[in-house]
């Protein structure tokens, strides 16, 4: 219950935050205008619409996850609002999980809005819509959850700026993890160990990418989908537990 009230309060905070609206409006404008511009390339029209549409939703969601996520905890410590929360019968991990869930709710609503925008364009352009599109959107949302948890973890031990850089790096490398192993194989022993380490520690974000499936009308089995979702949620749990352990030891000064 306490976690839920903190989550709802965080959601309310986000709703009253101008930054978020700016990002969201910007995202919708970008998605809309780039899709309209592409009317020229007739042959590959549908394919591009889906590709760019899903791609922009992904990028903008991640940006929101990072920029709101890094401030979630830091801002509370800087503004000392955390003093009156932690002195109440609320465990630190409850605070952390509450903040995380709050931003997750925000991201969920954002994803719905952006997906709504995409669907409008698709319908207007008479692109056939199948179930795979919704599965892809669902996994994009799971990816947001992972990125938010990374941002939250970083912000429990470092500044907002460094958190943003780390999280962005995790996002980029997370989409290249498959290459890490291949790349590592070509390097010396030290480099190989480092890259292998990164491969196992960083989330493999490409797993959440079903764009190709949507565009080429491929199928994903239900059990595979379940496995991917489970992977995301376990990863999030791992990140939140680590964040809680660090947060528990911290002095708020």
């Amino acid at each position: 219950m306490k976690v839920l009230s903190i989550a709802l309060n965080t959601f309310r905070e986000n709703l009253r935050d101008k930054l978020l609206y700016n990002l969201l409006v910007f995202a919708l404008l970008m998605i809309g205008s780039s899709l309209l511009l592409m009317r020229l390339t007739l042959g590959e029209f549908h394919r591009l619409l889906l590709d760019v549409g899903l791609g922009s939703i992904n990028i903008f969601g991640v940006l929101i996850a990072i920029f709101v996520g890094i401030g979630l905890v830091n801002k509370e410590i800087e503004k000392k609002t955390i003093y009156t929360i932690v002195s109440k019968p609320v465990a630190r991990y409850q605070f952390l999980v509450g903040k995380y869930l709050g931003l997750t709710i925000t991201l969920f609503v954002n994803t719905l809005i952006m997906a709504g925008g995409l669907l409008l364009v698709l319908v207007a352009q008479e692109v056939p819509i199948d179930g795979m599109l919704f599965k892809a959107l669902g996994l994009i949302f799971i990816e947001f959850m992972v990125i938010t948890a990374v941002a939250l973890l970083c912000s429990t031990f470092t500044s907002a700026t460094l958190s943003a850089i780390f999280t962005l790096a995790a996002y980029v490398i997370g989409h290249l993890t498959a290459d890490l192993k291949t790349f590592g194989a070509k390097m010396g022993e030290g480099g190989q160990m480092l890259l292998n380490g990164l491969y196992y520690v960083l989330p493999n974000l490409e797993r959440f990418n079903l764009k190709g499936h949507v565009i080429h009308h491929l199928e994903v089995s239900g059990s595979d989908l379940l496995l991917i979702v489970a992977y995301g949620l376990i990863y999030v749990t791992f990140l939140l537990v680590s964040a809680s352990i660090i947060f528990q030891r911290r002095d708020f000064r």
Partner: protein, 320 residues
């Protein structure tokens, strides 16, 4: 000697901060021991930078002690059982400024597991108590410092706590605001709550407190009942102002006085103790000078405070 009527027990508490690139050690609180008893108003005094906020933050579980320990209401600090019966107002508080005072207090009520109609009435009562009913639906970002302090006090009372800890509750307020906070603290005491508050303004403490502790550079320098500490700090000085004093009279007074100030015809003399007042009066009469005024210096906590600041040496603790 922890007993059941001790609400806050602090034993040998220390906090060392590491600051700057080289991790220089700053001892903010140094082996502090004291206790706050059930039902009293306890003043935690000291100049800026003495370590008051650091101590309170340790008690609230916001920072961890480097060594030593403390307990609140019989539980070690940070224990949820004690937090449930605790109210806390931080120094120059900031709150979620996108919330209205009503939303804010409701949210904090939820954190104590309070919901529904009983919470609604509680919130309205508290807004009434701190005189903020008119600002019920105003966002905190539009609040003045004094208004923030008031909702800050309201949030500290949302759970009807047994112990209320206030960090500099009167700083930054105008005289009317300070008086209101004082009245509020009195009312809390009357309703049986224990209040611990910090201040660097001794006058407030003198009016309010049953007992006070004075700290300096993180160390306890005095602790006890206000009246006893005033007695300790008292100088018993007497100030006399005399007109038309002859040079011989002046020479004789100089022998008795700790300080003499000449202002033309007028002489101001400070006597170190009341014992020399009679002698001085004899001198004045003999010299046929005119006594303008005779003022015993009223002792206050300020005297002890200033003496401790100047002396810099921690005094032995007075146990009362």
């Amino acid at each position: 000697m922890p007993s059941s009527d001790v609400v806050v027990q602090i034993d040998q508490l220390s906090k060392v901060f590491r600051v700057g690139f080289w991790g220089k050690r700053v001892t903010a609180v140094d082996q502090l021991s004291l206790s706050v008893r059930q039902g009293e108003v306890f003043g935690f005094l000291g100049p800026n930078g003495a370590g008051k906020t650091t101590t309170i933050k340790m008690l609230m579980g916001l920072i961890y002690p480097t060594s030593g320990r403390a307990s609140i209401l019989g539980h070690p600090i940070g224990d949820p059982a004690s937090k449930a019966k605790l109210g806390f107002l931080p120094e120059s508080p900031y709150f979620y400024d996108y919330l209205t005072s009503h939303e804010f207090l409701n949210f904090y009520g939820h954190l104590f597991g309070l919901w529904g109609a009983s919470l609604d009435t509680r919130v309205d009562e508290l807004l009434e108590l701190v005189g903020m009913t008119h600002a019920r639906d105003l966002q905190l970002r539009k609040f003045s410092k004094g208004m923030l302090q008031r909702v800050g006090i309201a949030q500290a009372l949302i759970n009807d706590p047994e112990l209320v800890v206030l960090d500099e509750p009167m700083s930054g307020l105008d005289p009317v605001g300070r008086k209101e906070v004082r009245d509020l603290i009195f009312r809390l005491k009357e309703s049986g709550k224990t209040v611990m508050f910090s201040s660097h303004i001794l006058h407030d403490a003198e009016l309010l407190c049953d007992r006070v502790a004075m700290i300096m550079k993180g160390k306890l320098v005095a602790c006890g009942q206000v009246s006893d500490l005033i007695e300790r700090g008292a100088t018993h000085e007497v100030e006399m102002v005399v007109d038309r004093l002859s040079p011989e009279g002046l020479a004789q007074l100089r022998l008795l006085a700790s300080k003499v100030v000449l202002q033309g015809e007028r002489v101001m003399v400070v006597l170190a103790s009341q014992q020399s007042v009679d002698e001085a009066l004899d001198v004045i009469r003999a010299a046929k000078a005119k006594l303008v005024s005779l003022t015993p210096h009223k002792a206050s906590l300020e005297d002890l405070f200033i003496r401790e600041v100047r002396g810099g040496q921690p005094a032995a603790e007075v146990h009362v």
